[in-house]
Amino acid sequence: MPEKTLLHIEDLKLHFRAGKGTVRAVDGVNFDLETNRAVVVVGESGCGKTSLAKAILRLLPRNVETYSGKVYLHDTDVMQLNDEDYRRKVRWIKISMVPQAAMNALNPVLKVGDQVAEPAIIHNAMDKETALAQARKMFQHVGVPLDFLDRYAFELSGGMRQRVAIAMSLVTAPDLIVLDEPTSALDVLTQANIFNVLKRIKSELGMSFILITHDIATSSELADSVAVMYAGQIVETGDAQRFFAEPLHPYSRKLMASVPRLRGDQEPDFIVGQPPSLINPPTGCRFAERCPQRFARCVEDPPTIRQDGRTVKCWLHVA
């Protein structure tokens, strides 16, 4: 493993029990993340993106059937820790999360300053004064005026509340932040603002990010590398430069072609059909049914091919 690797995930699985059978939401995911880098996980809804975030943070619902694999954080396998140790040593301290629609999840009866300080009091054992000072520092990083510390969530606009949610994830000084659709409910200008904030945190604090989104155009605002998820599996990983220029997997190509663009002349296209159910996913390549380039071999599960630092799970790339 290279020295700079912050997070290394190997064969991560998260299956749920459901009425009709086992839902294979995360089904053998591998990827790496280096320090001070941002990886975006893109895919359609229902492909297991949010479950992947929950699996990394071990925020599991009660109907878990399988939860296995290896998650190395700074070379230690955090999957070996028991729940209590994980809670005390990893969650918030090392990895924090901005969940989907976090801005609507702020407590309406707490001042936002107190709310942002709370994780530091609980997880870093700070006293209230120090924690509030820390919160104040984070407010400056995300660009919320300091007099907002004494306001309540309902007094803030959507963009400001989203910044507060990001400040809260920063306050415990973690190594990694998992962002789940941080801007999907926001206006264009606010969205651009939030990404400016994230870029600034990345360069000023050396933060690393996992950004989960279905919006490919805005994901390029932060991405150093890209992981494309389809039906519970990662089908392609690679650096952003080469990915956005030329994706390898047929699904990634289709996904890129479906993005409406403001500049340039290409007509966007859509992907025919729907992602498969995660209860009984097809054997073989899971995208085969919708793939314009499928051929005889696609009935077998494709291996993950590594070429020039990129990986792709597709028979087309087998030499």
Partner: protein, 346 residues
């Protein structure tokens, strides 16, 4: 305030507004204002929320316009007034020459049957306890289509139009059994049921997955072509507008600040707010990660006490003191069919 005199391209043929006969105007909005009264303790007057404050435009038969703006700029209030859900505070609305301001009873129902509405959130727009068949039958019953066989024929027709076939498979299904894209198709089918002349689509694809978005937009586009519908497409996402409409209005704080053809707007945005919107819209490009976006500081103003003069002046980099913060800019026309409410272009 000037009236929009831009080119109107409908159904692929370009006809300038001057050449169009007046009776070709389907919907005419004249200096429309929609204000909501704020009350203190339930009875004391505490001012107005000026959601729409002086909007003027003409929409021709089989023409598509896009209304773009951030949340809170009044685009939904404008839409709801056009749907006759809100009453205008001032100004006038005409649909095929008939004044809409105080339609009542039978006339109002007739008007509404000619206007289809596509909601933003398809799941929220479909009653969860109704099957697709009932969802599509109800508007027909309300509008007095008595023959059962005619109702069924219309349902079948509408579902085939939105490419939900075989129809039998979908009729007994409930909304939760459908995917997001299919739900939105049912909503579109419902809007098409009574052969409307105008469709109002409020962010029809913003809740959908990227891969389905384009499919739904193309479907709307083909319906519009085939049935010569006029469409008002309301959105905050500039990148989808290009594929859908020819004319575009940019709204800010209750007013239309720029009106033009979409290609002109993208090529040469004139209002500083439009420039900001365009520069904040990203295309997938790895170089985005290395640069910061220019975003005007601050937030849209309160609509209770909007700033004097140009409503964008507190955030504008080109603000001219003594002019922009004092006098409201009229619409200038620096290039043909491209109107902008900004003193920079006087």
């Amino acid at each position: 305030m000037n009236t929009m005199t831009g080119t109107a391209q409908g159904g692929g043929t370009a006809v300038t507004a001057a050449e169009r006969p007046q009776e070709d105007v389907l919907l005419s909005v004249q200096d429309l204002r929609v204000w909501f009264e704020l009350r203190r303790f339930g009875f004391g007057h505490a001012g107005y929320v000026r959601a729409v404050d002086g909007v003027t435009f003409d929409l021709h038969h089989s023409e598509t316009i896009a209304i773009v703006g951030e949340s809170g700029c009044g685009k939904s209030s404008l839409m709801k007034t056009i749907l006759a859900l809100h009453r205008p505070t001032a100004g006038e609305l005409f649909f095929e020459g008939r004044r809409l301001n105080d339609l009542k009873g039978q006339e109002l129902r007739l008007y509404r049957s000619q206007v289809g509405y596509i909601q933003q959130d398809p799941y929220g727009a479909l009653a969860p306890f109704m099957s697709v068949q009932r969802i599509l039958e109800e508007p027909q019953i309300i509008n007095g289509i008595k023959s059962r066989s005619e109702r069924e024929a219309r349902i079948r027709n509408a579902l085939e139009e939105v490419k939900m076939s075989p129809v039998e498979d979908f009729l007994p299904k409930f909304p939760h059994m459908l995917s997001g894209g299919q739900q939105q198709r049912v909503v579109i089918a419902r809007a098409m049921l009574l052969d409307p002349k105008l469709i109002v689509a409020d962010e029809p694809v913003s809740m959908l997955d990227a891969s389905v978005r384009v499919e739904i937009l193309k479907l709307l586009r083909s319906l519009q072509d085939r049935h010569h519908l006029a469409v008002i497409y309301i959105t905050h996402d500039l990148s989808t507008v290009r594929y859908f409409s020819e004319r575009i209005f940019v709204m800010y704080a209750g007013q239309a600040v720029e009106k033009s053809l979409i290609d002109d707007l993208i090529r040469n945005p004139l209002h500083p707010y439009t420039m900001a919107l365009l520069s904040a819209t990203s295309d997938p490009d790895a170089n985005n990660a290395t640069r910061f976006r220019d975003v005007p500081p601050g937030e849209p103003p309160s609509l209770v006490k909007p700033p004097a003069g140009c409503r964008f002046h507190p955030r504008c980099a080109y603000m001219m003191k003594g002019l922009c913060d004092v006098e409201e800019p009229p619409h200038f026309e620096p290039e043909p069919h491209h109107l902008v409410a900004c003193w920079l272009h006087r």
